[in-house]
């Protein structure tokens, strides 16, 4: 649905600042109906990336394809037409203060030349959809942040887009409003079959709604993939951000073992092997298990005492059986590479998949 291919955006040098490469050769593929996240620290180019999708920023090089149309090949009129099928919401809502909630939702319909009666009908439906049917005549100034974003969502959906871009859409909201807006996004995605590209720096937002995500750093995609796959990769930089490895105080004796819990590799087998089979004493030193992208996911840090040399072979055996387990040390959230038996080559294609769109015609 959204295909970015080797897209670069270079902002020319301005007074007092040199040339800035905001997006540096990004390839990205988002499937129809997918809820994709783009995360990264501020300045990593993720907001520019969102603006490249609807050509608010024209890429310096590379191609942007949305719904089969190569936007970068279109002239201005073509781009304007294409933008109607790409809704966008923003961190600061960007509603017009000179219009009511209904007037704001009506705006894109006016621009698209929709007739008055049809406009009125659609506006009523949309405000109903976002749960603000009773705030029809309210001015943006009279609405809460969450309500403003709901109006903005209704406005973005007015022209019946197939893609919705969310640029830090919940970053200015309190936790309760954030949850409400995310629920709404999930709902409209399901009801309207939207493809959503969500830019955020909040990992909790990605965990709550995204099917897949990419991690950006200094204008490049450094990691990414479907969340279930990303989280199952113990050395993933994105996974480490999404669900940080638990930290444990360096007290007590014994070996520290990090266990990644997913639907496919539950913790039961590992615990059973270590306690019942080897007779070791196992304590949970730290950890959490939660639901990410509708699946169970967690990291546990186990403190294992009484190892007589059988622990490492047992861990190797467990890994062979599909368990995501490895030795680690306190204060080192990233596992030691040596502890990983799996050939790294097997993980490479996963990183490449999202970073190399033409290969993946999803």
């Amino acid at each position: 649905m959204i295909e970015l291919s080797d897209v670069r955006k270079v902002f020319p040098a301005r007074r007092g600042a040199g040339e800035v490469t905001a997006v540096d050769g990004v390839s990205l593929s988002v499937a129809r109906g997918e809820f994709a996240g783009v995360v990264g620290p501020s300045g990593s180019g993720k907001s520019t990336l969102a603006r490249l999708v609807n050509l608010l920023e024209r890429p310096t090089s590379g191609t942007v394809t949305v719904d089969g149309r190569v936007l970068t090949d279109l002239d201005e009129a073509g781009v304007r037409e294409a933008r109607r099928s790409i809704g966008m919401i923003f961190q600061h809502f960007n509603l017009l203060d000179s219009r009511t909630a209904a007037g704001n939702v009506e705006h894109p319909l006016e621009l698209a030349g929709v007739g008055r009666t049809e406009r009125r009908r659609r506006v009523a439906d949309l405000l109903d959809l976002v749960g603000l049917a009773d705030r029809h005549a309210a001015r943006p100034g009279q609405l809460s942040g969450g309500q403003k974003q709901r109006v903005a969502i209704a406005r973005a959906l007015a022209a019946r887009p197939s893609v919705l871009l969310c640029d830090e859409a919940t970053s200015a909201l309190d936790p309760a409003s954030t949850a409400g807006v995310l629920d709404l996004l999930r709902q409209v995605r399901a009801e309207l079959g939207l493809t959503v590209l969500l830019i955020t720096h909040e990992m909790s937002v990605v965990r709550a709604v995204c099917d897949s995500a990419v991690l950006m750093s200094a204008g490049r995609v450094v990691d990414g993939g479907p969340l279930t796959e990303v989280l199952a990769r113990p050395d993933s930089a994105l996974a480490a951000q999404l669900v940080p490895a638990p930290a444990a105080a360096d007290t007590g004796n014994g070996a520290l073992v990090q266990l990644t819990v997913t639907d496919a590799s539950p913790q039961g087998l590992v615990l059973q092997t270590l306690t019942a089979e080897l007779g070791l004493s196992v304590e949970v030193a730290a950890g959490s298990v939660e639901t990410v992208a509708g699946r169970r996911f967690g990291r546990l840090l186990l403190r294992v005492e009484g190892d007589d040399g059988r622990l490492d072979p047992a861990l190797a055996r467990l890994r062979a059986a599909g368990a995501l387990v490895q030795r680690t040390t306190a204060g080192d959230p990233r596992p030691a590479p040596a502890a990983d038996d799996e050939p790294p080559a097997e993980q490479e294609p996963d990183v490449q998949r999202l970073a190399d769109a033409p290969d993946v015609q999803r």
Binding site: L56, R83, R84, I86, H92, N94, L96, D97, S98, L111
Partner: protein, 219 residues
């Protein structure tokens, strides 16, 4: 001093002339100044339709118009006035220099107002597939309207002051009246009366403008 029955109607006529000059000049100034202000705003670097050369040129013209003392402008544009109206004397003739003097003034105020419209609103509208002229028409001007009304009010008050100055060279209106009857005939009471009238007119206009702008801003 019992000639007030004779003077009062003339004073009223002069007030009417002032209102006529300022009214027509305001209409023309808005008609010319708002588009000029829009052009100044959108051609600026990084704006909706950047055009550095045109922007600099317009900026130069506007600055020239604004830096010229109005009394000099009056004399300077006399040939233009004669070309348009046929004469340089009287209130209709005065409308030409008034408009020429006020257009750059309003254009700058319009530019300032439009620049304060948050860029995000423009961006959101462009993302809907709007043309640039749609952005000007449906975002920039409506969003800046309260501020634009305040700008026009300031311009009207400036026009009243200009129009009084035009009286010095036979422009008609209250300024003309104050000079001919008050100053040249040593009638301080008449001068005072015109000043009071001018003050009342300015106060009324400012009050109406403020009220309108506030109503637009709060709805």
């Amino acid at each position: 001093m019992n000639d007030w029955s004779r003077i009062a109607p003339q004073l009223l006529d002069a007030t009417g002339e002032t209102l006529y000059m300022v009214g027509v000049a305001t209409a023309l100034t808005v008609l010319l100044g708002v588009p000029l202000g829009v052009l100044l705003t959108v051609t600026a670097p990084g704006a909706l339709a950047p055009h550095p050369l045109l922007n600099r040129l317009l900026g130069l013209v506007v600055n020239l118009g604004r830096s010229l003392p109005f009394i000099i402008l009056l004399v300077l544009v006399a040939p233009v006035t004669r070309g348009i109206v046929g004469t340089t004397i009287g209130s209709t003739a005065t409308i030409v220099p008034l408009t020429i003097g006020a257009v750059p003034f309003l254009a700058r105020l319009v530019e300032t107002s439009l620049r304060e419209v948050a860029h995000g609103k423009v961006e959101a509208t462009l993302a809907m597939g709007a043309r640039r002229r749609d952005v000007v028409r449906s975002v920039l001007l409506p969003e800046a309207l309260p501020s634009l009304v305040a700008g026009v009010t300031v311009t009207v008050v400036a026009l009243i002051s200009y129009s009084a100055m035009a009286g010095a060279i036979g422009g008609g209106g209250l300024g003309d009246f104050a000079i001919r009857y008050g100053y040249q005939q040593f009638r301080t009471d008449i001068t005072l009366a015109t000043v009071v009238l001018l003050l009342v007119v300015v106060q009324l206009l400012q009050w109406a403008g403020d009220r309108w702008a506030r109503r637009l801003a709060t709805h």
